[in-house]
Amino acid sequence: MKIDGTVVRGDHFSGNIAEIRKFAVMSLSWLTVIFVAVWGVCWALGIFIPMCLANSSFDFAAILSEVCKALTPIAAVLVFIPINAMFMVLMERRALALFTRRNGPNRVGPDGALQTAADAVKLLLKEDITPTGADALMFTLAPIIFFAPSIFGALPLLAAVTNNHKLFQIVDLPTGIFYVLAASSVPVVGIVMGGWASNNKYSLMGGLRSAAQAISYEIPLVLSLVTICLLAGTLDVVSIAYQQSGGLLNWNILGGGALIGLNKAIAALVSSSGAPFAEVMNAYYPYGWLSFVGAAVLCMCTVILFGVYLIGACAEINRIPFDLPEAESELVSGYNTEYSGIKFAIFFLAEFTNLFIVSTIAVVMFLGSGDCPLPTWLNPLSYPAVYEPLAKALSPVLSVLINDLHLINPPTFWAALWVIFKTYSLIFFAILVRGTLPRFRIDQLMDFGWKRLIPITLVIFVLVAFARGVINFHV
């Protein structure tokens, strides 16, 4: 918009490259910090100390190294969560600023990168107020109950997202996803407790809403994941993650393995070695067109399931458009109206951690965990002709890092990178949703959950159970 040669600010699509670049730089540097910090702690605790102890003649050396190893996943989580929450809050604020044509926080640190760190310090130093008439014990317990279960429930995911690195297998859980879901349904108790203990009517309503909401959205959420488990034939997150390796077509979001045959057949076609195309197709899709229909149905079903999962997850963690428990314009701030200082910080931390965890579950269960989206036959790195010279060139450095210091574990490294990329993409989407949609009403929310999502997931469950029969998953 030009007026007499002067450009009126903010009215043309000249692009906003500077701000976007700032956002990208901020995100990448924060991610690097997170990545380095977490891996550094884990490496020191789980590899370096045991490595040093292995040569020592210290009496309890063996025991100590075992203890260190056992503590590694917990250390990883404990280091990761606060840093990650700080980054997510900052990312949310910066991203929303981008969507709304603002600059976002840009005062503390370079381009505002340390804003949330400052906020965290402020929150921790604030006076911790317990309102008169509140049940002090419950009031204090509530944030802890809200926070703790989801984190430790998410521990099994660690192994999945690090490509089954042995450091992070705290215990080999064959019922991993079940454990995750069980743990993730506990936090609502914390919300209800907080709402009730605050001695505030708004808080009470927020807490009760949260209970109702969690109960109704737990079901479609679980059903969608159960359907994936049905397709995968296992409850073990690590196995589910492994099953999806091999590119986009193998992922659960696209048929939950129904396209593995297609993937392999194309790979055979491209490499022109091994079994011919038709043979592979026949092995995987034994019933001809019926199998193809089955595969198509499965693809459709899993895509819908992914949508249902996202909606259910959003509701489960009280994100907009399902943020009824803390609906600002109705209930002031819902269950955490009365919280301040460190307790509020814990609630806040837990909310963002939960967002991260549900995104990670989505990545592990639907989006192929740490798998590169390119199918193997398209991925240049999978061809020895490309890969081997590269490896040879880098080997002097890498061999020290990999074999002597165990500082890098290539499969874990790549898997972790992909998981981070996918997870934060989902989080970015959640932020976009937050920037767009208004809030549901409580009864509409219930309607939507019970009358739409649950029937849909049930129908899909049945469809999947049938369609699964006409495809050969494991050859």
Partner: protein, 376 residues
């Protein structure tokens, strides 16, 4: 053995809750004493006056010239209209002829102000509905431009004191008109964008369709005016019905919604009004004549002839009237505001009955109340 077919009677206690005066969604300091059964509102008792600044008393104790500067505070989102109502009432009593250019400038500023007021409403309404972080900023970006226009001609962004008894305060420069023209070209595109985000959004439809239905009869009985009334299907726009100023010469539609009178209709009525206002502004920019802008000397001794009169303008919220009794001195004898928000708010209790608590915000927001206008 008998099977119990009837559930035992389940009795719940009612809860009394104070919504406001400090609450994020009461648009200021309205206090609603709600009696709730669960989340369902059984009874509403609005408590007003937290923002009472005795505007009428001040009117009687200040000279005309001084009071003109104060009245933008009555409805701070549409200060042009409060000034206009006062000026019209005084002119009617005084028999002042307003220059044509001043009338066009008044219409121009008033329509810009109407847009800015509706824009603020749009943003805050979406906040009321829970879209807290993204959308509400967009209307504010446009509103900011309008406020800049006003700042240029009047010196301030909200307390304009621009429309004076007998004319307007200052003649804008030619560049100003050009800027406004650019704005009118750009603005409809922005409205399209917002409509793409909001109007057909399923959640928004769920929250607004069929909610807070205000029937014609109720609206009339409570003296509801403005877009709120027109959304209930009554074609009652002062600009059309009792034309004042130069409105008879301008072509524009008055959006009337005939179906339900629910919150969605009220939303649409305002959106369409903004589009119509843009049309009016375009015409005014074409038609505005050269000439004087003030017919009455503005000074400390400004006096109005003795007499009494009532004059009203169609403000963004409805009929903003001004009933003045003058005794010929430099102070009004009795000053009475007829504020649209006051009457529009009085319809809230019947609308809220038997609605869940989430609907309070959807309904209350859709009435477009502004508390200083209620409390004065």
């Amino acid at each position: 053995m008998t099977i119990q077919t009837k559930l035992p009677e389940f009795k719940t206690d009612e809860m009394v809750i104070n919504l406001g005066p400090q609450h994020p969604a009461t648009h200021g300091v309205l206090r609603l004493i709600l009696t709730l059964d669960g989340e369902v509102v059984k009874h509403t008792e609005p408590v007003l006056g937290h923002l009472h600044r005795a505007q009428e008393w001040q009117g009687q104790n200040r000279t005309w010239f001084q009071y003109q500067a104060l009245i933008d505070r009555v409805d701070y989102l549409s200060g042009m209209f409060t000034s206009w109502a006062l000026s019209r009432a005084a002119e009617v009593i005084d028999g002042t002829e307003v220059p044509r250019r001043a009338e066009f400038l008044r219409v121009l500023c008033a329509e810009l102000n109407r847009i800015s007021s509706h824009l603020l409403w749009l943003g805050t309404y979406l906040i009321d509905l829970g879209a807290l972080y993204g959308f509400p900023f967009y209307p504010f970006i446009e509103r900011e431009k309008i406020l800049t226009f006003f700042e240029e001609i009047s010196g301030q962004r909200m307390m304009y004191n621009y429309i004076r008894i007998g004319g307007v305060q200052r003649d804008p420069k030619a560049e100003w008109f050009k800027k406004v023209e650019e704005f009118t070209k750009d603005f409809p595109k922005r409205v399209d964008e917002w409509e793409a985000i909001v109007t057909e959004n399923p959640i928004f439809l769920n929250r607004t369709k069929g909610i807070g239905v205000l029937t014609k009869e109720v609206a009339q009985a409570y003296g509801v005016t403005g877009p709120t009334l027109r959304a209930s299907g009554i074609d009652f726009d002062l600009r059309r019905f009792k034309p004042y100023s130069v409105y008879p010469e301008l072509k524009f539609d008055v959006p009337v919604y005939n179906k339900d009178g629910d919150t969605w209709d009220r939303y649409m009525a305002r959106i369409q009004e903004m589009r119509q206002s843009i049309e009016i502004i375009k015409q005014v920019l074409d038609m505005i004549p050269e000439g004087e802008i003030m017919s009455k000397k503005q000074n400390a001794g400004l006096r109005i002839k003795a007499g009494e009169g009532f004059a009203a303008v169609e403000s963004p919220r409805g009929i903003l009237g001004c009933y003045i009794t003058s005794n010929g001195s430099d102070k009004p004898y009795r000053f009475r505001w007829r504020n649209p928000s006051f009457s529009n708010l009085s319809v809230l209790p019947p609308l809220l009955e038997e609605r869940p608590i989430s609907d309070i915000m959807a309904i209350f927001g859709s009435l477009d109340i502004i508390l200083p206008d209620v409390d004065r």
